[in-house]
Structures are given as structure tokens and as C-alpha cells.
Symmetry: C2
Subunit: 250 residues, 2 copies
DNA sequence: TGTATGCGTTGTGTATACAATAGCGGAGGA
DNA sequence: TCCTCCGCTATTGTATACACAACGCATACA
């Protein structure tokens, strides 16, 4: 009897965590809404213990908030929370770039980053960029940022950046998607690519301050564009994290 | 029958979390050592479910590391991990100070910070500083940093700073204690107090860049002093987090 | 008619039983 | 003597049962 389909390839805890995260980011669970464990058990197929573990993890991740009287609710974010989160990640990435530059990086370690850069250049040559190419861009951009973070060789910093990127709107992919809502999207992507180029150059020449400054500017650009995108609310359905933005308040 | 003493005033999960953290920071559990759930159940008095919840939380906090094959082990930190963590927090606090300065803070909001500053000044007037006064200093310093963080008015940033301070050696109290191991401790504390004074002044005058710079310098001072303290390993028993430093490796 | 109290239901916090897996030790063969 | 394989044990992952607390609704009294 396959009444309860048990997938043994992945732990129930992880399965529940992924399922719940999907529900939150897809907007199936509204911000501020209390999450019922019982309901979560039904929708995820796991039992209460792994569901509870998943809820604790999602709380630490920042997607949920503990209710004092017990249980969890979906966290709601203001527009400022989102822009602050992006700037926060930019600051952290700036520190990572500085560490990479100051501590030195061999040409061999820089190679994957340069390949990534070249691949993005190739994509941006299309005018206007196709939907498929844009999707590839999102992936490549996330890869670029991940590689750059790694170059810092600082586990505590890498860990913190990962945490900061857990909130979808603060992840590299998140704000790229937000930018895509703007008419001048392609131009923005090209400016961003310039930043990528500069940070590699700065790291190669061991210019820590310059490497840091450009990554922070990179994030500030993203913040400005997110603000613009939120003004003219077109195509914002591309941004899944929008489900988390406070609607009534603020 | 009080065979199992159940304290209903605080949840079993929190109780277990605190007990386990104590065990880790006191060195009762060595870095790299696997934590047995069964053993944790015995030492904490809670049952397996809350113990597991506590373990997940401590992992997210950064004190534990998940073992791929299952279970958790006490995380081990290198000296560089520690100095990176301090610099990381300094960077975050720098951003908080910048936010406070740029967004504006009323005189009334700045008042508690100034009181804190004055109280520390009072303490440092003693030469040499007494043990009691030093203990008060640790508390006041933590309070100063917490108040400053709050002034940013940015929940995501505050949250991230809290996380960064979860590792005891990266908390304000942690590195103050490390500094105390140095003969020139008092002089260092006075320099730190100068930083505190400057950051308040910068926030008052809405000089974001200056506010940020001084907080980063504040952290860099702490890193330098921690390095010195670790060189001449005297009085380092004052630093409880030392239990987490890798011994053999690195 | 409004408010307060009590009872019922729902849901979380905790405990424990069961299942599955990984690691270790012993035994047998090369 | 060493290597390999099989089985056992210990420990984790999962499921579920139980207890208590909180919220809501209804009813009764002012």
C-alpha cells in the first residue's frame, strides 16, 4: 500500500523544508499567516517531527518568525527591509572581495571566475536579450557571486553571506529578476557586468579597497533599480520573493 | 515522584539549548567531538525531541556542525576564523553606524548611548582598573554596541549582527576579554573608548562614512589585540571561547 | 444588551516507541 | 598474517501518542 509515499532518497526533514519554502515563496502561505503544523504535515507528507525541524530551520533562515505563544508565522518584509538586505549582502561581498585581494589569489583560482565573466559577456551580446538567455544569465550571475565569495577563503564570511542570501530577494538571482522588470534592463545588466570586470581586475592587482568599493557599488545599483522596479509595478511577477512583501502596512 | 525534575517555567527546548551551549563553551565538549543525543538527554534532563531541536538551533548558531552521516559535532575554529569573525562583525556594525548617521537619529535616541559612554569613562578613570570595574566594563561595552546596532533601525541588519555575535569570541564581550590578557589592556580600552566617542559624534553630525570607518577601525584594533593576546598566552583562561579553538591542526 | 465565565476544541510541546543505517568487531579464508 | 565479508550493536531519523495551554464560543447573569 502506497498510502503514504515515502521517498527514501532524501530525508523527510529536507523534503519538508523544501516543500514549505516553496509554499512560502510561491505565496501559497501569506505573510503574517500562522503556519499550522498539522496542515504542514498534510501538504508535505512528512510527519510532525521532521516538519518541526524544518520549521526551526526556516525560522533561522529568516523566512519564518516564532510566535511568542507558540508556533510560527510567515515573516513579512517592508520595502526597506528588502533594500537593506541587498545592501547588507553587498557589504559582505565587498569584504569577501577585499579579503580575496589582500590575501592573494592565484591565476588558476581566478580562472573559473573569468570563464563565468566571458560567458555572461557572450549572453549580453544579444540585443534584445532572449528569455532563455536571461534565464542563463541568472544562473551564471549567481555562480559568479558564489565563486567570488569562495575566493575570500574565509569560512565564517562565506557562511554569513550564504545566510544573507537565504532571503530570496537578497540573493543575486533575486535582484537580477527585480531589475528585469525595468525597460532599461539590458543596460543595467551591462553596468553590472562592468562591476564584475573591475572586481576581478582589482583582485588580480591586489587592490583590496577598490575590490570592496566596486562590490558595494554593485549592490547599491541593485537597490536603486529595485526601488525603480517597485515604482512601476510591471513584470514584478518575475520576482517570486514579492510574496513576502508586506501589503497593507508600511 | 520527582524522579525527573520538570521545570515548567522555561521550555525544555530552551533549557536544553542553554545547557548544551554551556557544555560547549566551558570546554566540557571538545571541538571536533561528536555529540551523542543520548548523552545530551542525560546531561540536560530534557527528552530527545527538545534536545534535537536545541541541536538544530545550535547548528544554525554556528556552534555545531552537522555530520553528513548523521548527528552533530562541536565546531572547531582556527585563529583566522576568529579574527575574520571579529572583522565581519565590525563591518556589519560599521554599516549600522552608517545607517544611523544617514537616516538621522534624534538627540533623545542618542541619550542612552551617551550615558553608556559616560559610565565607561567613569570606570576607566581608575588606574589600574579593578576586577569588578572590568566586569562592569564588559557589560557596559556590550550594551553600547547593542544600542548602536539598534540605531540603524534596520531589522535585517540587527538580526545579522546578532547572528555574528552569537559566536562568543566575536561578541563585544568576547574580544574585550581577549584584550584583557594584554599588559597594555587599559590603554587599549581607552583607545576603544575614543572610537565610541567618535562614532557618536559622527552620527550626530550625520557623517555616515566617518561613522562607518571608525567602527571598522574599532574591530581591526580588536583583531590586532587578539593576535597579540594569543601570542603571549597569559590569562587567556578569561576567554571562555578559547575552548573552541582548534588545538592540533592549523 | 453587554460582559464575564466556563467548557470545549484545536494545536503545540514533550515523551517515547519503532525503524533503518552506519560503524565496528570477529571470524574465516587466502 | 592480512584482508574481506557478514552480522551485531549503537545511534540517529521518523512516527505517533499524550498532556497541557490557549483561543473561541456559548450561555448565564447583571
Amino acid at each position: 500500500m502506497a498510502e503514504r509515499e515515502v521517498d527514501r532518497s532524501v530525508s523527510q526533514t529536507v523534503k519538508a523544508q523544501l516543500a514549505l519554502r516553496d509554499q512560502i515563496l510561491s505565496g501559497a502561505l501569506r505573510p503574517g499567516e500562522r503556519i499550522s503544523e498539522l496542515q504542514a504535515v498534510e501538504t508535505t507528507g512528512a510527519s510532525r517531527t521532521p516538519v518541526r525541524m524544518a520549521l526551526v530551520r526556516l525560522e533561522e533562515e529568516g523566512l519564518l518568525e516564532a510566535i511568542p505563544s507558540g508556533g510560527f508565522m510567515v515573516k513579512a518584509f517592508s520595502e526597506r527591509d528588502i533594500s537593506d538586505s541587498i545592501e547588507l549582502r553587498g557589504t559582505l561581498e565587498g569584504l569577501a572581495a577585499r579579503f580575496a585581494a589582500e590575501r592573494g589569489v592565484s591565476a588558476r583560482e581566478l580562472e573559473p571566475l573569468k570563464e563565468c565573466l566571458a560567458a555572461i559577456d557572450e549572453l549580453l551580446r544579444q540585443v534584445p536579450i532572449s528569455v532563455d538567455a536571461f534565464s542563463s544569465y541568472v544562473t551564471l550571475n549567481a555562480r559568479f557571486h558564489a565563486l567570488l565569495t569562495e575566493l575570500s577563503r574565509s569560512p565564517p564570511l562565506i557562511r554569513q553571506i550564504d545566510r544573507a542570501s537565504a532571503l530570496p530577494f537578497a540573493s543575486p538571482s533575486g535582484f537580477v529578476m527585480a531589475q528585469s522588470a525595468l525597460p532599461e534592463a539590458q543596460q543595467i545588466l551591462i553596468i553590472g557586468q562592468d562591476h564584475h570586470r573591475v572586481v576581478i581586475d582589482a583582485i588580480e592587482n591586489r587592490e583590496g579597497a577598490r575590490a570592496e568599493a566596486v562590490m558595494r557599488e554593485h549592490a547599491r545599483l541593485a537597490v536603486r533599480n529595485l526601488r525603480l522596479a517597485l515604482r512601476n509595478r510591471t513584470h514584478l511577477d518575475l520576482l517570486p520573493a514579492l510574496a513576502l512583501i508586506k501589503t497593507a502596512t508600511d
